[in-house]
Amino acid sequence: MDIATTSNPLRAGMRNTRTVEPCIMVIFGATGDLTHRKLIPALYNLELELPLPPQFTVVGVARRPFTNEQFRQQSLDSINTYSRNRPANPAVWETFSKGLFYHQSQFDDLEGYHRLAELLDQLDRERGTRGNRIYYLATPPSFYAAIADNLSTAGLAHRERSGGPDWSRIIIEKPFGHDLQSALALNRELNKAFKEKQIFRIDHYLGKETVQNIMVLRFGNGIFEPIWNRRYVDNVQITVAENIGVENRGDYYEEAGAMRDMVQNHMMQLLSLVSMEPPINFGADSVRDEKVKVLRAIPPLADGEIPLDTVRGQYGPGMIAGEPVQGYCYEKGVAPNSKTETFVALKLTVENWRWAGVPFYLRTGKRLAKRITEVAIEFKRPPYLLFRGTGADQMAPNVLSLRIQPNEGISLLFSAKVPGQEMRLRTVNMDFLYGSSFGVEPPEAYERLLLDCMYGDSTLFTRIDETEQAWQLVDAIERGWAKMPASSIPQYEPGTWGPKEADALIERDGRTWRRL
């Protein structure tokens, strides 16, 4: 898809050389939590700081019988509660709110889509939005196919309407299916209405500044890439740990588990960004081609490897910060005898020239010791220990860790001499904190991603073949697990780093998880 670059000579040299074309964003699920907490605050922040074109319009679609005024009031509440620029600036809100409209409809009611089409045409005439549409499906995934189908039937999903300049795009949230087959089926349904280049699959991890910075660190510096390979790297550890439980998402989590909730999307994104080859440019397809290539180089685990190279676990009852917490099976919406995993540890390999023989250890879980997301590149030790008897043999290996959250930053562990007459070595930490060097509050991930969709730039969105490839890896493990006895899901104590079997997984290779 062409990115909206401009021929406007007044844009030359400006920070925003790309321009947002006038358009209408139609949000399905407009009264839901995602719209309330993320989407409306993100759009307001863009309006305040960018700003968006004056024609920009939002139409909220949901089942509740809201009026335009009620939707505007809900939006104002969203901004005042969740925007990083809260409270709303009255003067800016005054004109922004005039572009907010509400349309009541059931998601499966075709008549509602015909009425929506009339409203959108009317807004095109009144606000100059030129037929450009972004459909944001902030609904449960079970509605995705029906909404896409109805949009198509109502003539709202124009692929490229009679050669005209207008466009339509659709944004869907993860999960993109619950396995490969369902992902393909969902995609077939979406493709009946939209071409792949019109589909923007959001994984909000990719909107995070620090995730994007992985590419900048690797390809914007000269010192890292030469050692970013099997010759120097011993192993890579990716940790996405949460200290909370499933909260109110028990119903969803029962279907997903940690594997589908985290590994298939966020962790695969991190893995591919860390291990991919340099793209030929920063274009959407160039970057995503490389991500897909590296995912293809990861062989799905065979049945025989799964008991050795995967560990799953489920948090039991216990204490966190001195407070008792219930076990997963006692959470709301969770079956008392649930076998859903809340913890996963994996060992994967990337079988290509760069990474042959370098294990990638992944772990994620809920109710772990702390909330932290980190990618750690552990380097090989020096080939010869020159400083024997100085503590050098006890030194930690060099580790470059990329902290995604919290305390976003980069640190490097290396050895240094302890000051004094004797030769003693200590491991020291060279820390770079984003908060220290760039204290400005970064934009929310959703702001970046919504803006990119308005530009038509899909670099930070997941392409279907990425999704497919990730599902192939996950499905192979899920199939293997299905053949294993339920007793293979150990419980772990809340506030720890997961079941001891996860330690065994990595210790078998003579390594340990990083102490975070």
């Binding site: 406007n8 007044l10 925003n16 074309e21 004109t95 060097s437 204290g439």
Partner: protein, 417 residues
């Protein structure tokens, strides 16, 4: 010498030759207190060195506070030169300290170098070795620089970027011309920036946005009249049209308009120019003062500190009851264009609260919704921040400066602007 220690109670005086060593000591002391558990750990990160030249300790203190407000985003080594022209003598003193931004782990280093008049010429030898190696270095000159002086030349040569504020200069035409000359001469060593240019970024954004839709772009070629209003005080007081001239220079340079300096008429505060478009059609440009608008110089008024949304307050809220703008701030821009048929107009005007601007565009093709934007929030938090983020040459600014100098040169022939 003045009582600098009283002005900077958080700083301590150190010998000139020991500045770097004392800064290291302060860092070690801090680390020791971290090790004892009596202090929070901070990172000694720097992203730049900022050298600010001020006219004495009062301004130096204000500048230091301004830099502290930026520390959260630009942890830096700040070297503030305090050179009071009334302070006769040949002495020079240094004071150092550290600063940690509230709610942040950013750690900045403050150096104040106080120089009496006879010592000012020796400043480069003291200041330039203190610039952090390998990081961008900025020279921020408050007030009118001594154009052509050895001091200015040496400091400019030692930095990557020099920042001035033409809206704070008393002789705009002369200053803009001198700035343009400096820019041309130093092109290979140092880039030039202007806080006035950064302050008007929201206006450029808004006007550019008028012409983003493809149906509006042809009207750029049909522009026949441009009216730019700028803020002025009393009718008998001096005006500063630098922002308006710079804005006109930006339009002219981006759109390929030819400026004939002779084609000018009107008063110095309100002038009319005749320009030629790339297609040789006539464009009438009017630069008009709007009098009786409250204006302030943030650094001349201690009470205004933190209230000047345009420079130091990231949220842009006024902290007093009086609305005011920077000297010569843009008040409205109006463009009229015709492509053979009915006229299209594009206008943006500052609201009565002076903090917002509202757009109005009327095209023969149809209605464009108007919108209100918060002027301080658009693009950058503050003009100085904006300037500190610019590392290389801003070619668009340099083109606009050249065009602006051309416009102002015609005024210069007929008296002060």
């Amino acid at each position: 010498m003045s009582d600098t220690q009283a002005m900077f109670p958080a700083l301590r005086e150190v010998p000139l030759e020991a500045i770097e060593r004392e800064l290291d000591n302060m860092w070690r002391e801090h680390n020791a207190s971290v090790a004892r558990g009596t202090s929070q750990a901070y990172s000694r990160n720097s992203v730049l060195t900022l050298v600010a030249f001020t006219q004495g300790p009062r301004h130096a203190r204000q500048v230091l506070e301004a830099i502290h407000s930026l520390t959260v985003q630009h942890p830096s080594r700040a070297i503030i030169i305090s050179a009071d022209p009334a302070d006769r003598g040949s002495g020079m003193r240094a004071h150092i300290g550290t600063y940690v931004a509230p709610d942040s782990s950013s750690y900045g280093e403050d150096l104040v170098v106080e120089a009496q008049t006879e010592a000012v010429r020796h400043l480069p030898g003291v200041v330039l070795p203190l610039i952090v190696s390998g990081l961008p270095s900025f020279l921020w000159w408050l007030g009118e620089p001594p154009w052509g002086s050895e001091l200015l030349e040496a400091l400019v040569d030692g930095c990557d970027r020099v920042i001035v504020d033409t809206s704070e200069m008393s002789h705009v035409a002369r200053s803009v011309s001198a700035l343009e000359d400096l820019m041309r001469r130093k092109k290979t060593r140092c880039a030039v920036g202007d806080i006035s240019w950064a302050a008007q970024a929201p206006w450029r954004d808004i006007v550019a946005q008028f012409f983003d839709p493809p149906e509006a772009q042809p009207y750029l070629e049909g522009i026949e009249r441009v009216v730019i209003e700028y803020a002025a005080g009393d009718e008998d007081a001096a005006t500063n049209s630098s922002q308006a001239s710079l804005f006109a220079g930006w339009l002219a340079s981006r759109l390929g308009w030819r400026i004939d300096p002779a084609q000018k008429s009107g008063l110095d505060s309100s002038r009319q120019y005749t320009l030629r478009s790339a297609a040789d059609s006539v464009i009438v440009l009017e630069i008009i003062a709007r009098f009786n608008v409250a204006q302030r110089s943030w650094w001349e008024d201690p009470m205004s500190f933190g209230a000047d949304a345009a420079l130091v307050s990231p949220d842009g809220h006024r902290q007093d009851d009086v609305a005011w703008v920077r000297h010569g701030a843009l008040m409205s821009v109006h463009l009229a264009s015709r492509l053979g048929g009915p006229r299209a107009t594009f206008a943006v005007a500052r609201e009565r609260d002076l903090m917002h601007a509202t757009t109005l565009a009327q095209l023969p093709e149809g209605h464009v919704p108007s919108k209100t934007v918060h002027l301080q929030s658009v693009g950058e938090q503050a003009p100085l921040t904006d300037q500190l983020q610019e590392l290389g040459h801003d070619v668009v600014y340099e083109d606009a400066l050249t065009a602006s100098a051309l416009l102002l040169r015609s005024s210069a022939r007929r008296g002060p602007a």
